[in-house]
Protein backbone atom coordinates (compact mmCIF):
# COMPACT_ATOMS: atom_id res chain seq x y z
CA UNK A 1 0.00 0.00 0.00
CA UNK A 2 1.55 3.34 -0.88
CA UNK A 3 2.62 5.29 2.19
CA UNK A 4 0.10 7.67 3.69
CA UNK A 5 1.91 10.55 1.98
CA UNK A 6 3.43 10.55 -1.56
CA UNK A 7 5.73 13.37 -0.52
CA UNK A 8 6.88 14.35 2.97
CA UNK A 9 9.14 17.33 3.56
CA UNK A 10 10.63 17.60 7.05
CA UNK A 11 12.29 20.77 8.39
CA UNK A 12 13.75 21.70 4.95
CA UNK A 13 16.25 24.62 5.03
CA UNK A 14 17.75 26.13 1.85
CA UNK A 15 20.18 29.07 1.78
CA UNK A 16 21.64 31.11 -1.11
CA UNK A 17 25.20 32.50 -0.85
CA UNK A 18 25.27 35.94 -2.51
CA UNK A 19 27.59 38.93 -2.37
CA UNK A 20 25.14 40.62 0.02
CA UNK A 21 25.17 37.76 2.62
CA UNK A 22 23.32 34.47 2.93
CA UNK A 23 19.67 34.47 1.90
CA UNK A 24 17.52 32.28 4.17
CA UNK A 25 15.09 31.41 1.40
CA UNK A 26 13.52 28.35 3.07
CA UNK A 27 13.72 27.90 6.87
CA UNK A 28 12.35 24.79 8.66
CA UNK A 29 9.75 23.95 5.99
CA UNK A 30 7.37 21.01 6.69
CA UNK A 31 4.80 19.67 4.27
CA UNK A 32 3.00 16.47 3.25
CA UNK A 33 1.28 15.69 -0.06
CA UNK A 34 -1.02 12.64 -0.33
CA UNK A 35 -1.59 10.46 -3.42
CA UNK A 36 -3.80 12.06 -6.09
CA UNK A 37 -4.07 15.12 -3.87
CA UNK A 38 -3.59 18.73 -5.06
CA UNK A 39 -1.90 21.01 -2.55
CA UNK A 40 -1.94 24.76 -3.02
CA UNK A 41 1.27 26.45 -1.83
CA UNK A 42 0.35 30.12 -1.31
CA UNK A 43 2.66 33.02 -0.46
CA UNK A 44 3.87 36.40 -1.59
CA UNK A 45 6.97 37.06 -3.68
CA UNK A 46 10.08 36.06 -1.77
CA UNK A 47 8.25 33.67 0.55
CA UNK A 48 10.42 30.78 -0.81
CA UNK A 49 7.79 28.92 -2.87
CA UNK A 50 9.91 28.48 -6.01
CA UNK A 51 13.03 27.69 -3.98
CA UNK A 52 11.17 24.84 -2.29
CA UNK A 53 10.15 23.45 -5.67
CA UNK A 54 13.73 23.66 -6.93
CA UNK A 55 14.85 21.98 -3.69
CA UNK A 56 12.57 19.01 -4.41
CA UNK A 57 13.66 18.78 -8.04
CA UNK A 58 17.32 19.46 -7.09
CA UNK A 59 17.45 22.23 -9.68
CA UNK A 60 18.95 24.80 -7.28
CA UNK A 61 21.39 27.10 -9.11
CA UNK A 62 25.00 25.92 -8.45
CA UNK A 63 27.06 27.02 -6.56
CA UNK A 64 24.86 29.63 -4.84
CA UNK A 65 21.90 27.46 -3.69
CA UNK A 66 22.44 24.70 -1.11
CA UNK A 67 20.07 22.49 0.91
CA UNK A 68 21.35 23.10 4.44
CA UNK A 69 19.09 20.76 6.38
CA UNK A 70 15.93 18.61 6.26
CA UNK A 71 14.72 15.58 4.33
CA UNK A 72 12.41 15.15 1.37
CA UNK A 73 10.75 11.72 1.37
CA UNK A 74 9.23 10.81 -1.96
CA UNK A 75 7.51 7.42 -1.88
CA UNK A 76 9.42 6.70 1.28
CA UNK A 77 12.90 7.47 -0.09
CA UNK A 78 14.85 10.60 0.87
CA UNK A 79 15.52 12.41 -2.42
CA UNK A 80 18.33 14.46 -0.91
CA UNK A 81 20.36 11.29 -0.41
CA UNK A 82 20.08 10.27 -4.04
CA UNK A 83 22.95 10.58 -6.50
CA UNK A 84 22.71 12.68 -9.67
CA UNK A 85 22.15 9.63 -11.91
CA UNK A 86 19.41 8.26 -9.63
CA UNK A 87 17.72 11.65 -9.64
CA UNK A 88 17.92 11.70 -13.48
CA UNK A 89 15.67 8.63 -13.52
CA UNK A 90 13.14 10.17 -11.19
CA UNK A 91 12.96 13.63 -12.76
CA UNK A 92 10.51 13.66 -15.62
CA UNK A 93 9.40 10.08 -14.97
CA UNK A 94 8.03 10.41 -11.46
CA UNK A 95 8.19 14.12 -10.68
CA UNK A 96 7.63 16.76 -13.36
CA UNK A 97 7.55 20.55 -13.23
CA UNK A 98 5.83 23.40 -15.06
CA UNK A 99 7.48 26.82 -14.95
CA UNK A 100 5.93 30.23 -14.59
CA UNK A 101 6.68 32.04 -17.82
CA UNK A 102 5.57 30.00 -20.88
CA UNK A 103 7.40 32.45 -23.13
CA UNK A 104 10.82 31.22 -21.94
CA UNK A 105 10.08 27.61 -20.88
CA UNK A 106 10.43 26.17 -24.39
CA UNK A 107 13.70 25.96 -26.35
CA UNK A 108 13.15 28.52 -29.15
CA UNK A 109 15.28 26.67 -31.70
CA UNK A 110 13.62 23.25 -31.30
CA UNK A 111 10.25 22.20 -32.72
CA UNK A 112 7.47 21.68 -30.23
CA UNK A 113 7.16 18.00 -31.22
CA UNK A 114 10.89 17.36 -30.70
CA UNK A 115 10.74 18.78 -27.17
CA UNK A 116 7.93 16.41 -26.23
CA UNK A 117 9.63 13.46 -27.90
CA UNK A 118 12.79 14.22 -25.93
CA UNK A 119 10.92 13.68 -22.65
CA UNK A 120 9.33 10.44 -23.83
CA UNK A 121 12.55 9.08 -25.31
CA UNK A 122 14.31 9.63 -21.96
CA UNK A 123 11.95 7.53 -19.93
CA UNK A 124 10.03 5.16 -22.16
CA UNK A 125 11.20 2.50 -24.63
CA UNK A 126 9.98 2.58 -28.18
CA UNK A 127 11.01 3.13 -31.74
CA UNK A 128 11.22 6.60 -33.23
CA UNK A 129 7.77 6.25 -34.81
CA UNK A 130 6.16 5.09 -31.59
CA UNK A 131 7.61 7.98 -29.70
CA UNK A 132 6.50 10.41 -32.41
CA UNK A 133 3.03 8.96 -32.20
CA UNK A 134 2.92 9.31 -28.41
CA UNK A 135 4.04 12.91 -28.71
CA UNK A 136 1.29 13.58 -31.28
CA UNK A 137 -1.27 12.03 -28.96
CA UNK A 138 -0.08 14.21 -26.04
CA UNK A 139 -0.55 17.34 -28.18
CA UNK A 140 -4.12 16.33 -28.91
CA UNK A 141 -4.70 15.69 -25.19
CA UNK A 142 -3.77 19.26 -24.30
CA UNK A 143 -5.95 20.63 -27.10
CA UNK A 144 -3.36 21.47 -29.77
CA UNK A 145 -3.88 20.11 -33.32
CA UNK A 146 -1.18 17.39 -33.77
CA UNK A 147 -0.35 18.77 -37.22
CA UNK A 148 1.40 21.71 -35.52
CA UNK A 149 4.07 19.47 -33.96
CA UNK A 150 6.78 20.61 -36.37
CA UNK A 151 6.19 24.31 -35.64
CA UNK A 152 8.47 26.34 -33.39
CA UNK A 153 7.55 27.88 -30.01
CA UNK A 154 7.50 31.46 -31.38
CA UNK A 155 4.56 30.48 -33.60
CA UNK A 156 2.36 29.77 -30.52
CA UNK A 157 0.52 32.21 -28.22
CA UNK A 158 1.23 32.29 -24.48
CA UNK A 159 -1.70 30.04 -23.65
CA UNK A 160 -0.80 27.49 -26.34
CA UNK A 161 2.82 27.41 -25.16
CA UNK A 162 1.71 26.62 -21.60
CA UNK A 163 -0.36 23.75 -23.01
CA UNK A 164 2.78 22.40 -24.72
CA UNK A 165 4.67 22.64 -21.42
CA UNK A 166 1.86 20.70 -19.71
CA UNK A 167 1.99 18.11 -22.50
CA UNK A 168 5.74 17.70 -21.91
CA UNK A 169 5.34 17.45 -18.13
CA UNK A 170 2.58 14.85 -18.25
CA UNK A 171 3.90 12.86 -21.26
CA UNK A 172 5.42 10.19 -18.96
CA UNK A 173 2.51 10.18 -16.57
CA UNK A 174 4.48 11.35 -13.49
CA UNK A 175 3.26 10.63 -9.96
CA UNK A 176 3.80 14.24 -8.81
CA UNK A 177 3.47 17.43 -10.83
CA UNK A 178 4.87 20.69 -9.41
CA UNK A 179 3.30 23.73 -11.11
CA UNK A 180 5.07 27.00 -10.30
CA UNK A 181 2.46 29.78 -10.90
CA UNK A 182 1.52 28.23 -14.28
CA UNK A 183 -1.15 30.82 -15.15
CA UNK A 184 0.15 34.03 -13.56
CA UNK A 185 1.62 35.28 -16.87
CA UNK A 186 -1.62 34.56 -18.77
CA UNK A 187 -4.73 36.66 -19.41
CA UNK A 188 -7.73 35.75 -17.27
CA UNK A 189 -9.75 34.03 -20.06
CA UNK A 190 -6.72 32.00 -21.17
CA UNK A 191 -5.94 31.25 -17.51
CA UNK A 192 -9.44 29.81 -17.17
CA UNK A 193 -8.82 27.53 -20.19
CA UNK A 194 -5.50 26.29 -18.80
CA UNK A 195 -6.81 25.73 -15.27
CA UNK A 196 -9.73 23.83 -16.74
CA UNK A 197 -7.30 21.65 -18.73
CA UNK A 198 -5.11 21.01 -15.67
CA UNK A 199 -8.11 19.97 -13.59
CA UNK A 200 -9.25 17.50 -16.28
CA UNK A 201 -5.75 16.03 -16.80
CA UNK A 202 -5.12 15.80 -13.04
CA UNK A 203 -8.16 13.59 -12.67
CA UNK A 204 -7.51 11.54 -15.87
CA UNK A 205 -3.83 10.87 -15.02
CA UNK A 206 -4.53 10.68 -11.23
CA UNK A 207 -1.46 12.88 -10.69
CA UNK A 208 -0.91 14.53 -7.33
CA UNK A 209 0.06 18.17 -7.76
CA UNK A 210 1.68 21.02 -5.89
CA UNK A 211 0.15 24.25 -7.25
CA UNK A 212 2.38 27.19 -6.33
CA UNK A 213 0.47 30.50 -6.58
CA UNK A 214 -0.22 33.81 -4.84
CA UNK A 215 -3.88 33.89 -6.08
CA UNK A 216 -6.33 32.52 -3.54
CA UNK A 217 -8.99 32.38 -6.29
CA UNK A 218 -6.93 29.82 -8.26
CA UNK A 219 -6.47 27.76 -5.08
CA UNK A 220 -10.22 27.74 -4.48
CA UNK A 221 -10.75 26.40 -8.01
CA UNK A 222 -8.27 23.57 -8.20
CA UNK A 223 -6.74 22.62 -4.84
CA UNK A 224 -7.80 20.15 -2.14
CA UNK A 225 -5.37 21.25 0.59
CA UNK A 226 -3.70 24.65 1.13
CA UNK A 227 -0.40 25.62 2.80
CA UNK A 228 0.22 29.30 3.51
CA UNK A 229 3.92 30.21 3.36
CA UNK A 230 5.51 33.26 4.92
CA UNK A 231 9.21 34.03 5.49
CA UNK A 232 10.41 30.65 4.15
CA UNK A 233 8.13 28.38 6.22
CA UNK A 234 4.56 27.11 6.37
CA UNK A 235 2.52 29.19 8.81
CA UNK A 236 -0.85 27.47 8.25
CA UNK A 237 -1.97 24.22 6.59
CA UNK A 238 -5.57 23.10 6.11
CA UNK A 239 -8.08 21.61 3.79
CA UNK A 240 -9.52 24.17 1.38
CA UNK A 241 -12.92 24.05 3.09
CA UNK A 242 -11.70 24.69 6.66
CA UNK A 243 -9.19 27.36 5.60
CA UNK A 244 -11.70 29.34 3.49
CA UNK A 245 -14.41 29.12 6.18
CA UNK A 246 -12.11 30.10 9.09
CA UNK A 247 -8.52 31.17 8.56
CA UNK A 248 -6.58 31.18 11.86
CA UNK A 249 -3.16 32.71 11.24
CA UNK A 250 -3.24 36.56 11.28
CA UNK A 251 -1.26 36.63 8.00
CA UNK A 252 -3.82 34.33 6.32
CA UNK A 253 -6.61 36.54 7.63
CA UNK A 254 -4.80 39.60 6.31
CA UNK A 255 -4.36 37.92 2.91
CA UNK A 256 -8.08 37.26 2.57
CA UNK A 257 -8.92 40.82 3.63
CA UNK A 258 -6.52 42.35 1.11
CA UNK A 259 -8.42 40.92 -1.88
CA UNK A 260 -11.17 43.26 -3.11
CA UNK A 261 -14.43 41.34 -2.88
CA UNK A 262 -16.48 41.21 -6.10
CA UNK A 263 -19.80 40.90 -4.37
CA UNK A 264 -19.71 43.19 -1.35
CA UNK A 265 -19.22 46.93 -1.03
CA UNK A 266 -16.00 47.95 0.74
CA UNK A 267 -14.79 51.45 1.06
CA UNK A 268 -11.26 50.63 2.30
CA UNK A 269 -9.46 47.31 2.49
CA UNK A 270 -8.10 46.63 5.98
CA UNK A 271 -4.57 46.09 5.12
CA UNK A 272 -1.48 44.37 6.62
CA UNK A 273 0.88 47.28 6.77
CA UNK A 274 4.66 46.98 6.69
CA UNK A 275 6.75 44.97 4.23
CA UNK A 276 7.61 41.28 3.72
CA UNK A 277 10.81 40.31 5.66
CA UNK A 278 14.27 40.80 4.14
CA UNK A 279 15.56 37.20 3.64
CA UNK A 280 19.12 38.26 4.45
CA UNK A 281 18.16 39.23 7.99
CA UNK A 282 15.01 37.44 9.10
CA UNK A 283 13.19 38.84 12.14
CA UNK A 284 13.64 36.79 15.35
CA UNK A 285 10.97 34.40 16.57
CA UNK A 286 7.87 34.34 14.36
CA UNK A 287 8.90 36.05 11.13
CA UNK A 288 5.45 37.71 10.85
CA UNK A 289 5.61 39.41 14.26
CA UNK A 290 6.73 42.88 12.98
CA UNK A 291 3.50 43.13 10.91
CA UNK A 292 1.18 41.17 13.20
CA UNK A 293 -1.73 43.15 14.70
CA UNK A 294 -2.00 40.66 17.63
CA UNK A 295 1.73 40.74 18.40
CA UNK A 296 2.72 39.43 21.85
CA UNK A 297 6.19 39.69 23.48
CA UNK A 298 6.79 35.94 23.04
CA UNK A 299 6.24 36.20 19.32
CA UNK A 300 9.49 38.10 18.89
CA UNK A 301 11.49 35.71 21.10
CA UNK A 302 10.65 32.15 19.97
CA UNK A 303 9.31 30.88 16.71
CA UNK A 304 5.94 29.18 17.38
CA UNK A 305 5.58 25.40 17.10
CA UNK A 306 2.76 23.51 15.37
CA UNK A 307 -0.72 23.84 16.89
CA UNK A 308 -3.48 21.57 15.58
CA UNK A 309 -6.68 23.61 15.37
CA UNK A 310 -8.93 21.24 13.46
CA UNK A 311 -8.94 17.99 11.46
CA UNK A 312 -6.11 18.36 9.00
CA UNK A 313 -5.78 22.01 9.98
CA UNK A 314 -2.75 23.29 11.92
CA UNK A 315 -1.16 26.66 12.42
CA UNK A 316 2.15 28.00 13.80
CA UNK A 317 1.04 30.91 16.04
CA UNK A 318 1.19 31.66 19.75
CA UNK A 319 -2.35 33.09 19.67
CA UNK A 320 -3.62 29.55 19.73
CA UNK A 321 -0.84 28.05 21.88
CA UNK A 322 -2.35 29.12 25.29
CA UNK A 323 -5.85 27.94 24.47
CA UNK A 324 -4.44 24.41 24.23
CA UNK A 325 -6.22 23.62 21.06
CA UNK A 326 -8.24 20.44 20.94
Amino acid sequence: MAEKHLLEIKNLTIHYQTDYGTVHAVEGFNLEVGNGETLGLVGETGAGKTTTAFGIMQLLPEPAGKVVAGEIYFRGENLLGKSKTEMKKILGKQIAMIFQDPMTSLNPVMTVGAQIEEMIKLHEPGTKEEIKEKAKKMLEVVGIPAVRQDEYPHQFSGGMKQRVVIAIALSCNPMLLIADEPTTALDVTIQAQVLDLMKKLKDDFKTSMIMITHDLGVVAEICDKVAIMYGGKVVEYATKESLYTKPYHPYTVGLFNSIPDLDSEQDRLNVIDGLPPDPTDMPSGCSFHPRCPHKMPICSQKSPSKVVVGSEHHVYCYLYEQEGAL
Partner: protein, 321 residues
Protein backbone atom coordinates in the same frame (compact mmCIF):
# COMPACT_ATOMS: atom_id res chain seq x y z
CA UNK B 1 -21.08 67.12 -9.64
CA UNK B 2 -20.94 65.56 -13.11
CA UNK B 3 -18.98 68.25 -14.99
CA UNK B 4 -17.22 66.43 -17.86
CA UNK B 5 -13.48 67.04 -17.38
CA UNK B 6 -12.37 64.86 -20.24
CA UNK B 7 -14.25 63.44 -23.21
CA UNK B 8 -12.88 61.19 -25.97
CA UNK B 9 -14.55 61.01 -29.36
CA UNK B 10 -13.85 58.40 -32.11
CA UNK B 11 -10.20 58.13 -30.98
CA UNK B 12 -8.13 56.07 -33.46
CA UNK B 13 -4.50 54.96 -33.31
CA UNK B 14 -3.06 52.60 -35.97
CA UNK B 15 0.55 51.34 -36.02
CA UNK B 16 2.27 50.47 -39.34
CA UNK B 17 3.79 46.98 -39.06
CA UNK B 18 5.51 44.77 -41.64
CA UNK B 19 2.41 42.62 -42.06
CA UNK B 20 -0.20 45.40 -42.18
CA UNK B 21 -1.96 48.11 -40.11
CA UNK B 22 -2.31 47.28 -36.41
CA UNK B 23 -5.58 48.79 -35.17
CA UNK B 24 -4.51 49.38 -31.55
CA UNK B 25 -7.25 51.94 -30.75
CA UNK B 26 -10.14 51.82 -33.21
CA UNK B 27 -12.86 54.45 -32.59
CA UNK B 28 -13.01 54.76 -28.77
CA UNK B 29 -15.59 57.02 -27.09
CA UNK B 30 -15.97 57.82 -23.39
CA UNK B 31 -16.10 60.70 -20.92
CA UNK B 32 -15.05 61.09 -17.26
CA UNK B 33 -16.67 63.50 -14.79
CA UNK B 34 -14.68 65.47 -12.19
CA UNK B 35 -13.76 63.36 -9.15
CA UNK B 36 -14.92 60.18 -10.88
CA UNK B 37 -12.83 57.06 -11.62
CA UNK B 38 -13.40 55.31 -14.93
CA UNK B 39 -12.01 51.76 -14.94
CA UNK B 40 -10.65 50.62 -18.33
CA UNK B 41 -10.43 46.83 -18.42
CA UNK B 42 -9.38 44.32 -21.07
CA UNK B 43 -6.95 41.54 -21.85
CA UNK B 44 -3.40 42.16 -23.05
CA UNK B 45 -3.21 43.63 -26.53
CA UNK B 46 -6.71 45.17 -26.37
CA UNK B 47 -5.29 48.74 -26.60
CA UNK B 48 -6.03 50.04 -23.09
CA UNK B 49 -2.47 51.23 -22.37
CA UNK B 50 -2.25 52.85 -25.82
CA UNK B 51 -5.52 54.72 -25.13
CA UNK B 52 -4.08 56.08 -21.87
CA UNK B 53 -0.87 57.27 -23.58
CA UNK B 54 -2.72 58.79 -26.55
CA UNK B 55 -4.81 60.83 -24.10
CA UNK B 56 -1.64 62.43 -22.76
CA UNK B 57 -0.22 62.74 -26.28
CA UNK B 58 2.74 60.55 -25.33
CA UNK B 59 1.69 58.80 -28.55
CA UNK B 60 0.19 60.87 -31.42
CA UNK B 61 -3.38 59.81 -32.30
CA UNK B 62 -4.32 59.21 -35.98
CA UNK B 63 -7.76 60.77 -35.66
CA UNK B 64 -10.52 61.63 -33.20
CA UNK B 65 -10.76 64.22 -30.43
CA UNK B 66 -9.68 64.45 -26.80
CA UNK B 67 -11.64 67.27 -25.16
CA UNK B 68 -10.13 68.51 -21.90
CA UNK B 69 -12.52 71.14 -20.47
CA UNK B 70 -14.14 71.08 -23.92
CA UNK B 71 -10.93 71.99 -25.78
CA UNK B 72 -9.42 69.45 -28.18
CA UNK B 73 -5.86 69.09 -26.88
CA UNK B 74 -4.81 67.02 -29.93
CA UNK B 75 -4.64 70.28 -31.87
CA UNK B 76 -2.66 72.16 -29.22
CA UNK B 77 0.74 73.58 -30.23
CA UNK B 78 3.78 72.38 -28.34
CA UNK B 79 3.91 75.32 -25.84
CA UNK B 80 0.15 75.15 -25.17
CA UNK B 81 0.46 71.42 -24.71
CA UNK B 82 3.30 71.93 -22.26
CA UNK B 83 1.08 74.23 -20.15
CA UNK B 84 -1.78 71.72 -20.48
CA UNK B 85 0.40 68.86 -19.25
CA UNK B 86 0.42 70.40 -15.77
CA UNK B 87 -3.12 69.25 -15.15
CA UNK B 88 -2.88 65.71 -16.59
CA UNK B 89 -0.27 63.21 -15.40
CA UNK B 90 0.40 59.45 -15.51
CA UNK B 91 1.45 56.67 -13.11
CA UNK B 92 3.09 53.57 -14.60
CA UNK B 93 2.96 49.83 -14.05
CA UNK B 94 6.53 48.53 -13.76
CA UNK B 95 8.10 49.82 -10.50
CA UNK B 96 11.54 48.88 -11.82
CA UNK B 97 11.44 51.01 -15.00
CA UNK B 98 9.29 53.98 -14.03
CA UNK B 99 12.00 55.68 -11.93
CA UNK B 100 15.39 56.94 -13.22
CA UNK B 101 17.87 54.70 -11.35
CA UNK B 102 20.52 57.43 -11.32
CA UNK B 103 18.39 60.02 -9.41
CA UNK B 104 17.44 60.13 -5.72
CA UNK B 105 13.79 60.09 -4.64
CA UNK B 106 13.67 63.84 -4.05
CA UNK B 107 15.33 64.55 -7.41
CA UNK B 108 12.76 62.33 -9.17
CA UNK B 109 9.84 64.09 -7.53
CA UNK B 110 11.43 67.50 -8.14
CA UNK B 111 11.97 66.85 -11.85
CA UNK B 112 8.49 67.97 -13.10
CA UNK B 113 8.65 71.03 -10.85
CA UNK B 114 12.07 72.02 -12.21
CA UNK B 115 11.01 71.43 -15.82
CA UNK B 116 8.02 73.71 -15.45
CA UNK B 117 9.97 76.20 -13.24
CA UNK B 118 7.17 76.15 -10.69
CA UNK B 119 9.22 77.46 -7.76
CA UNK B 120 11.70 80.33 -7.67
CA UNK B 121 13.72 79.42 -4.57
CA UNK B 122 15.19 76.09 -3.52
CA UNK B 123 13.47 76.18 -0.12
CA UNK B 124 9.99 76.41 -1.65
CA UNK B 125 10.92 73.42 -3.81
CA UNK B 126 12.19 71.47 -0.75
CA UNK B 127 9.06 72.10 1.26
CA UNK B 128 6.82 71.05 -1.67
CA UNK B 129 8.85 67.82 -2.01
CA UNK B 130 8.59 67.09 1.73
CA UNK B 131 4.85 67.72 1.55
CA UNK B 132 4.43 65.32 -1.41
CA UNK B 133 6.57 62.62 0.25
CA UNK B 134 4.43 62.86 3.38
CA UNK B 135 1.27 62.84 1.25
CA UNK B 136 2.09 59.45 -0.32
CA UNK B 137 3.11 57.86 2.98
CA UNK B 138 6.90 57.72 2.47
CA UNK B 139 9.24 58.46 5.41
CA UNK B 140 11.45 61.55 5.28
CA UNK B 141 14.72 59.59 5.46
CA UNK B 142 14.00 57.96 2.07
CA UNK B 143 14.41 61.32 0.33
CA UNK B 144 18.05 60.71 -0.49
CA UNK B 145 17.88 57.01 -1.28
CA UNK B 146 18.00 55.59 -4.82
CA UNK B 147 15.26 53.54 -6.52
CA UNK B 148 17.26 50.28 -6.27
CA UNK B 149 17.18 50.67 -2.48
CA UNK B 150 13.34 50.64 -2.38
CA UNK B 151 10.84 47.78 -2.72
CA UNK B 152 8.05 47.74 -5.38
CA UNK B 153 5.41 49.37 -3.19
CA UNK B 154 7.55 52.33 -2.19
CA UNK B 155 8.66 52.88 -5.79
CA UNK B 156 5.00 53.17 -6.85
CA UNK B 157 4.47 55.72 -4.06
CA UNK B 158 7.37 57.77 -5.47
CA UNK B 159 5.74 57.49 -8.93
CA UNK B 160 2.46 58.76 -7.51
CA UNK B 161 4.20 61.64 -5.68
CA UNK B 162 5.86 62.62 -8.96
CA UNK B 163 2.50 62.58 -10.74
CA UNK B 164 0.94 64.78 -8.04
CA UNK B 165 3.83 67.30 -8.10
CA UNK B 166 2.12 69.63 -10.61
CA UNK B 167 -1.30 69.42 -8.88
CA UNK B 168 -3.01 67.76 -11.83
CA UNK B 169 -6.79 67.46 -12.06
CA UNK B 170 -6.70 64.23 -14.06
CA UNK B 171 -4.49 61.13 -13.61
CA UNK B 172 -4.05 58.21 -15.98
CA UNK B 173 -3.16 55.15 -13.86
CA UNK B 174 -1.70 52.54 -16.21
CA UNK B 175 -1.93 49.22 -14.26
CA UNK B 176 -0.39 50.87 -11.14
CA UNK B 177 -0.74 47.80 -8.92
CA UNK B 178 -0.55 44.83 -11.31
CA UNK B 179 3.12 44.19 -10.55
CA UNK B 180 2.65 44.24 -6.77
CA UNK B 181 1.89 41.57 -4.20
CA UNK B 182 -1.59 41.40 -2.79
CA UNK B 183 -0.80 43.15 0.53
CA UNK B 184 1.15 45.99 -1.03
CA UNK B 185 -1.51 46.24 -3.76
CA UNK B 186 -4.14 46.87 -1.13
CA UNK B 187 -2.05 49.59 0.54
CA UNK B 188 -1.63 51.45 -2.78
CA UNK B 189 -5.33 51.14 -3.64
CA UNK B 190 -6.25 52.68 -0.30
CA UNK B 191 -3.75 55.49 -0.91
CA UNK B 192 -5.24 56.21 -4.35
CA UNK B 193 -8.78 56.34 -2.95
CA UNK B 194 -7.70 58.68 -0.12
CA UNK B 195 -5.92 61.00 -2.60
CA UNK B 196 -8.98 61.10 -4.83
CA UNK B 197 -11.21 62.06 -1.93
CA UNK B 198 -8.79 64.66 -0.59
CA UNK B 199 -7.64 66.33 -3.84
CA UNK B 200 -10.81 65.75 -5.92
CA UNK B 201 -8.72 63.92 -8.55
CA UNK B 202 -10.24 62.30 -11.63
CA UNK B 203 -8.81 58.88 -12.54
CA UNK B 204 -8.63 56.79 -15.67
CA UNK B 205 -7.69 53.44 -14.00
CA UNK B 206 -6.33 50.89 -16.51
CA UNK B 207 -6.02 47.27 -15.33
CA UNK B 208 -6.58 43.63 -16.34
CA UNK B 209 -7.56 42.42 -12.80
CA UNK B 210 -11.33 42.97 -12.58
CA UNK B 211 -11.69 42.71 -8.79
CA UNK B 212 -9.13 45.52 -8.31
CA UNK B 213 -10.92 47.69 -10.93
CA UNK B 214 -14.34 47.09 -9.38
CA UNK B 215 -13.06 48.19 -5.97
CA UNK B 216 -11.76 51.54 -7.12
CA UNK B 217 -13.92 52.51 -10.12
CA UNK B 218 -17.25 54.28 -10.34
CA UNK B 219 -17.86 53.26 -13.91
CA UNK B 220 -16.08 50.51 -15.90
CA UNK B 221 -15.41 50.20 -19.61
CA UNK B 222 -14.47 46.84 -21.12
CA UNK B 223 -12.17 46.93 -24.18
CA UNK B 224 -11.75 44.21 -26.77
CA UNK B 225 -9.34 44.47 -29.74
CA UNK B 226 -9.15 48.30 -29.76
CA UNK B 227 -12.86 48.96 -29.15
CA UNK B 228 -15.00 49.61 -26.04
CA UNK B 229 -17.67 46.91 -26.10
CA UNK B 230 -19.40 47.75 -22.76
CA UNK B 231 -19.40 50.77 -20.42
CA UNK B 232 -21.55 50.90 -17.31
CA UNK B 233 -21.52 51.56 -13.56
CA UNK B 234 -19.44 49.19 -11.45
CA UNK B 235 -22.37 47.52 -9.73
CA UNK B 236 -24.43 46.51 -12.74
CA UNK B 237 -21.43 45.31 -14.77
CA UNK B 238 -20.91 42.46 -12.27
CA UNK B 239 -24.54 41.81 -11.53
CA UNK B 240 -25.90 42.02 -15.03
CA UNK B 241 -23.20 42.07 -17.78
CA UNK B 242 -24.79 42.66 -21.20
CA UNK B 243 -22.03 41.93 -23.69
CA UNK B 244 -21.20 38.20 -24.15
CA UNK B 245 -17.44 38.95 -23.87
CA UNK B 246 -17.98 40.73 -20.54
CA UNK B 247 -19.97 37.76 -19.35
CA UNK B 248 -17.18 35.36 -20.33
CA UNK B 249 -14.58 37.65 -18.78
CA UNK B 250 -16.40 37.78 -15.45
CA UNK B 251 -17.03 34.05 -15.38
CA UNK B 252 -13.32 33.38 -15.92
CA UNK B 253 -12.28 35.16 -12.70
CA UNK B 254 -11.38 32.63 -9.99
CA UNK B 255 -13.32 33.67 -6.85
CA UNK B 256 -11.48 33.21 -3.53
CA UNK B 257 -14.72 31.95 -1.90
CA UNK B 258 -16.21 28.49 -1.54
CA UNK B 259 -19.47 27.28 -3.00
CA UNK B 260 -19.87 30.32 -5.21
CA UNK B 261 -18.69 28.53 -8.33
CA UNK B 262 -20.51 29.97 -11.33
CA UNK B 263 -21.13 27.92 -14.43
CA UNK B 264 -17.99 28.66 -16.39
CA UNK B 265 -18.18 30.11 -19.92
CA UNK B 266 -14.92 28.89 -21.55
CA UNK B 267 -14.12 30.97 -24.60
CA UNK B 268 -12.98 29.13 -27.69
CA UNK B 269 -9.56 29.82 -29.29
CA UNK B 270 -7.32 32.86 -28.85
CA UNK B 271 -7.76 36.62 -29.27
CA UNK B 272 -7.59 37.28 -33.08
CA UNK B 273 -4.77 39.44 -34.45
CA UNK B 274 -5.41 43.21 -34.34
CA UNK B 275 -3.64 43.57 -37.72
CA UNK B 276 -6.13 44.41 -40.53
CA UNK B 277 -9.14 43.24 -38.43
CA UNK B 278 -12.19 42.09 -40.45
CA UNK B 279 -15.47 44.00 -40.66
CA UNK B 280 -18.28 43.26 -38.23
CA UNK B 281 -18.11 42.55 -34.51
CA UNK B 282 -14.58 41.53 -33.59
CA UNK B 283 -15.81 39.09 -30.98
CA UNK B 284 -18.10 37.32 -33.43
CA UNK B 285 -15.55 34.57 -34.13
CA UNK B 286 -15.50 33.44 -30.50
CA UNK B 287 -19.08 34.37 -29.50
CA UNK B 288 -21.58 31.55 -28.89
CA UNK B 289 -24.47 33.80 -29.89
CA UNK B 290 -23.07 35.29 -33.11
CA UNK B 291 -25.48 35.56 -36.00
CA UNK B 292 -24.95 36.33 -39.67
CA UNK B 293 -24.96 40.13 -39.47
CA UNK B 294 -22.59 40.06 -36.51
CA UNK B 295 -19.95 39.22 -39.14
CA UNK B 296 -21.03 42.02 -41.50
CA UNK B 297 -21.92 45.12 -39.54
CA UNK B 298 -19.75 46.56 -36.76
CA UNK B 299 -22.01 47.22 -33.72
CA UNK B 300 -21.89 50.83 -32.43
CA UNK B 301 -21.50 51.64 -28.66
CA UNK B 302 -25.06 52.72 -27.85
CA UNK B 303 -26.86 53.51 -24.57
CA UNK B 304 -29.27 50.57 -24.75
CA UNK B 305 -30.44 51.40 -21.18
CA UNK B 306 -29.84 54.57 -19.09
CA UNK B 307 -26.18 54.59 -18.05
CA UNK B 308 -25.65 51.17 -19.76
CA UNK B 309 -23.57 51.47 -22.99
CA UNK B 310 -22.98 48.31 -24.99
CA UNK B 311 -21.82 47.45 -28.54
CA UNK B 312 -23.81 44.37 -29.52
CA UNK B 313 -26.62 43.70 -32.04
CA UNK B 314 -28.49 41.29 -29.77
CA UNK B 315 -28.44 42.90 -26.29
CA UNK B 316 -30.63 40.81 -24.00
CA UNK B 317 -31.67 38.56 -26.91
CA UNK B 318 -28.70 36.19 -26.72
CA UNK B 319 -29.73 32.65 -27.63
CA UNK B 320 -27.30 29.85 -27.85
CA UNK B 321 -26.87 28.79 -31.51
Amino acid sequence: MNEKIIEVKELKKHFKTKSGMLHAVDGVNFFINRGETLGLVGESGCGKSTTGRVLLRLIQANSGEVLFHNENILEYSKPDMKKMRKNMQIVFQDPYSCLNPRLTVSEIIAEPLIINKVYKTKDELETRIDELIGRVGLSERLKTSYPHELDGGRRQRVGIARALALNPEFLVLDEPVSALDVCIQAQILNLLKDLQKELGLTYLFIAHNLSVVKHISDRIAVMYLGQIIELTDYKSIFKDPLHPYTQALLSAIPIPKLGVQKERLILRGDVPSPINPAEGCRFAGRCDYSKQNCFEETPKLIESEPGRWVACHYVRQLEQN
